[in-house]
Symmetry: D2
Subunit: 367 residues, 4 copies
């Protein structure tokens, strides 16, 4: 109820602060019998890790994950899987002034109003660092879904600031620091270098998809698959908009074009983004999210302090000039957690997700 | 878990089918002692009701609400409030063929795959008719929030198809069939008439806001206020996109402009849309949603039947050519349910929502 | 969260007051495709119904159930099943005095303190009449569990006041007004007649069991099957104690006798009551509950009114001299709801409850 | 849903295995601003700790708790409090044979059936060692409730095997290894010594109470305070029965005596155990629980192995001859968690728990 647990049947409880001794999560509900080691999780954590290029924050965190429970002789036991990540690079410094001021665009003001107390060190609980345990939990979900249904999650950068990035191929994504699906990222490099030099930051748009999703996941009224995805995505730090399928483009579409025609070989288009009436159709889930520009910038900003006095805030320290860059693995993880939750729900109501068998040939003809 | 209950502390459980004997909901968690009669609820139901202009479906439903429990001598008792709405205009007809076909853009295909059985009469459970009980529940939440904190919810049409609608004034909204905030809707009338004549449908964009929202609502990690709003909005039938504050426009913004500056008199802009770090700041909540064109159109569409054979589907009957038109009171209601839930949560953790006192002067200088 | 919904995957939301227009419930999560009519539910309601003998309250309620949703052409659709029971015998009378006094042993005092308002008509929400919708929901769970796993729920009276009732045979239970498992109930008739004449009431002990329960239901730490049963039973009006298996007798047992030995043909005893480590073993669930004497008696009692002034309370009207008599079908229903919930949970985590297959031969050798 | 989280508004998620690297919990929902250090928690952990007398297991665990998050500069911040306890005395040994056998009275059989895999080291997840994190979480709840409402939780041993222990005074409880409220425990010492020599174990009965409980806690239908207590208590390892107030003695009571009379100075008796209609009355909560004899005994027992072959099981190692002895602080902690949860719920619905003010004078005249 206090918003630190994601999901019900595959429930991930997140804890920790940016500069506390450790962060982590407890996964409750992972089915038993799946092979699982730290190495299965570390890969996605490394994709999200800071310090991997000059375009992201230089905080040096190995983000090494440790499994504390729920695995016996290399297999999940069906009991809670506790994952721990030590904070190793929480530099000590004087937070006296920062603790008294509210940085524009940050949670400082609202935490203060909500709790009457806040941990100012590196943003405390509001830091995007707390997405690391979600990436770890998402890796567990991804593994199970892939082994069970062949489901695959992929994400890429679709736009950085004004630069729209065309989709060339998924294969390019791991080979540049932007998760861009293009071979040549020289223009992005130049753009980011200029931005950093200007002491400013920019927004981004991320696309994230899932393929081989079982048919029939999601609940019709409130826990619609698209509603759950919107909840998961809007919960990622700095996200300001979410689209499923055609998204806002559907405003100017006509009924004669939007509704995806169906043939015996499958759907002809995917304006729906893989969800009809809140339930997965077996088509790819197609999601797009808008990420605001980083609020922590070295350019001075006008604000107030805890005594309602005007102050000029300058954010020093190590920050991402475009928080969207590291958001791709996070968005993939959150999408995986949503699908995982609903795969288990569907099993509860229908026994096995037998629809997965139906989905396979449908997918085959589509992809 | 099966997705028919919205909220936890102010939990609304929805039931019914479009052409069953009745629809309704049970509200669990309404604080005791609030004056409540059917008349308090009927107003918003009438705003959503079909048959009020030639631009919406001609189904003739009074949507008269009956309070079955939870109110004694005109006051809420703190126990569940059951609301019942009889279905009076469910025309009997032959559903034989419809029951065997999957209408494009509809939930027919996915319900069939998920449940192996579906009620084909008027869309059954997937009908937008099931938003009526939510509008009723939202009216209860609106009343309590207004009396307690002065919170006000408003929505309007921002775009119909290609026609963007400028914001003139809230006062115009009740005086035209489109919920448009403009004095002159002749262009919208003409647009809709042409569309209906063409046997087609169009999308829409709705803006919905809340003013005098207490500061400090929302939970920092997952149940962020914006995440909860996204979940609520994307759960409305036909919604394909959700924005908070600057939304997708934030992709091309810079950090030097996006982060709203704060002065001793309040925030200077509202790119955040009233939410910082997932927690309300006391500024107006600003939400925008994209609604797809109605899938039920009389123009023939290509699809398959339950035996995977190709069929041509023509949807007859009474349908909205732009489902977005009646969506405004629904979006308001869902936003009210989110704020209500989190006002109660905040009381759980902090005793009273004392932040409301702080919010008042802040609001005064902003609005 | 306000305690009117039982269960999560098979969630039953209860509403209504004793003397309001209607009572009922919404079942969310019933698997689709099960044949279901009102007749399947009415049988258990009739077993609980008032007015069936001189030993229970003479309120005349047919308790006829109506299915409002969730069933299409005689089969469940997987969507919410709303059940409605009209209140037909809520006699109008002057509640002026009753509304100002707190009856000893009743919820009057605590409702007043909790809500600051209460519906005094027939106990309002605190009336045992609200168990009727649970019996209805339990009948749905019983049917599904029986058809799926052969699970059978049975209850009987084990003690009325000082009279312990030996177990002769389940076949006697439907043939006397006490749900007693004995052929001759003359002593119980005499006992109850004398009690009624004395204007007093007495307690009771009920035994309730489930056979052919799938192995592996229940969660190890908190949602242990026995913990869930205790929660369900203690939630029945007037229950003051719950035992599983050997119960309080285990205090004086030794480890050498309590732990049930296992042989290749099955367990040799059932001190555990069918639960080991919180998880069902496939043995019969064995539960015993203590029910306090009816608080509504015509003998005068000392109490206070809302102004803290002393008053003498005499409860007139129609009341059960031993509320335990009608509790047997209620306890069966609640046990069925617990098993149903956990059968679905186990399917979520394990796919099908394959353990049911293992359980069958185990049961065969035990019963 | 998988049963490792207790509570909703004060939610405690438990993780770990008896012989894994660590155990712990995450508390989500603790109100902000309370002073909290490890020392506030360690006291109760030490009361539960093994190895403190010859009458309990000789496992040597310091059970030192570490706060990983949720506390800043010695005060709770309203964000999750992660508590970690390292396992230091998990002796390595050969579990080959134990892993293949099902110990009678243990969860071995049911875990195997449920999960198809189990951690056999020290009982794995089913070990009573997992109550340690609950004692830690309970200490946090106790502190908040005491500071806020003056609520005090106390427990004592009421019976060991056949020896009923009279209640002399709470002051004796900390001064003997049995938590017995008597000055002289020589008879208990002798009893336990004889039992240990015989290689056997015995049951126990524990009484646990809460004083200065705010009026109005608990929900009327399902989440009745007594139902929640029953759930919490029956969830403690080895508990087989729960009573509230008069408990099973109410079976032979009459209505003329059971219902507690009320005077302007308060209730005259406490047969109700502090709960009327599921809601706290301000009287002391009175709970009694039955604990079965330890299943781990050195006397040989008959069982089967995973291949359904008969085996003779002898449990060596370090075990409590009466698990009830260390159960007192556990029962107190669980009771505190229930009261905490419902204090927060009542604040959600009613703002502050204003009833606490009413309760104070009521208590004063009663105790």
């Amino acid at each position: 109820m206090s918003g630190n647990t994601f999901g019900n049947l595959f429930a991930v409880t997140n804890f920790g602060e940016s500069h506390g001794p450790a962060i982590g999560c407890v996964i409750d509900g992972c089915p038993p019998g799946m092979a699982l080691t730290e190495a299965d999780i570390q890969g996605d954590l490394d994709r999200r890790r800071p310090g991997t290029s000059r375009h992201v924050t230089q905080r040096n965190e190995p983000d090494a994950v440790q499994i504390l429970s729920g695995v016996y002789e290399g297999k999940t036991t069906g009991t809670p899987i506790a994952l721990l990540i030590q904070n190793t690079d929480q530099r000590s410094k004087d937070y006296g002034q920062i603790a008294q001021q509210f940085r524009p665009g940050h949670a400082d003001f609202t935490y203060w109003k909500k709790y009457g107390i806040r941990d100012p060190r590196g943003g405390g609980r509001s830091s995007a660092r707390l997405t690391a345990p979600m990436v770890a939990a998402g890796a567990v979900a991804k593994k199970w879904l892939y082994e069970k249904y062949g489901t695959v999650f992929r994400g890429c950068m679709a736009q950085i600031g004004e630069i729209a990035i065309p989709f060339e191929d998924w294969s390019h994504v791991p080979h540049n620091p932007f998760f861009a699906p293009v071979a040549d990222v020289a223009n992005l490099e130049a753009y980011m270098d200029a931005l950093r030099k200007a002491g400013d930051s920019c927004g981004a748009r991320i696309r994230v998809t899932a393929s081989n999703v079982p048919v029939g996941l999601g609940e019709p009224l409130f826990d619609k698959m698209d509603a759950e995805i919107a909840y998961a995505m809007m919960g990622i730090n700095a996200v300001k908009g979410v689209e499923i399928g055609a998204g806002f483009a559907s405003v100017t579409q006509r009924g004669t074009t939007h509704g995806d025609s169906i043939t015996p070989d499958g759907f002809e288009t995917n304006n729906a983004g893989g969800v009809l009436g809140g339930i997965t159709s077996g088509q790819d889930l197609e999601v797009s999210i808008a990420i605001k520009p980083t609020s922590s910038i070295i350019s001075p900003r006008q604000s107030i302090d805890v005594n309602n006095q005007p102050v000029e805030v300058v954010t020093k320290g190590r920050h991402d000039p475009c928080v969207g860059i590291r958001a791709t693995p996070i968005a993939e993880a959150m999408l995986a957690l949503v699908v995982m939750e609903h795969a288990l729900r569907q099993r509860a109501q229908n026994g096995e997700v037998s629809a997965a068998v139906d989905a396979a040939p449908l997918q085959a003809s589509f992809l």
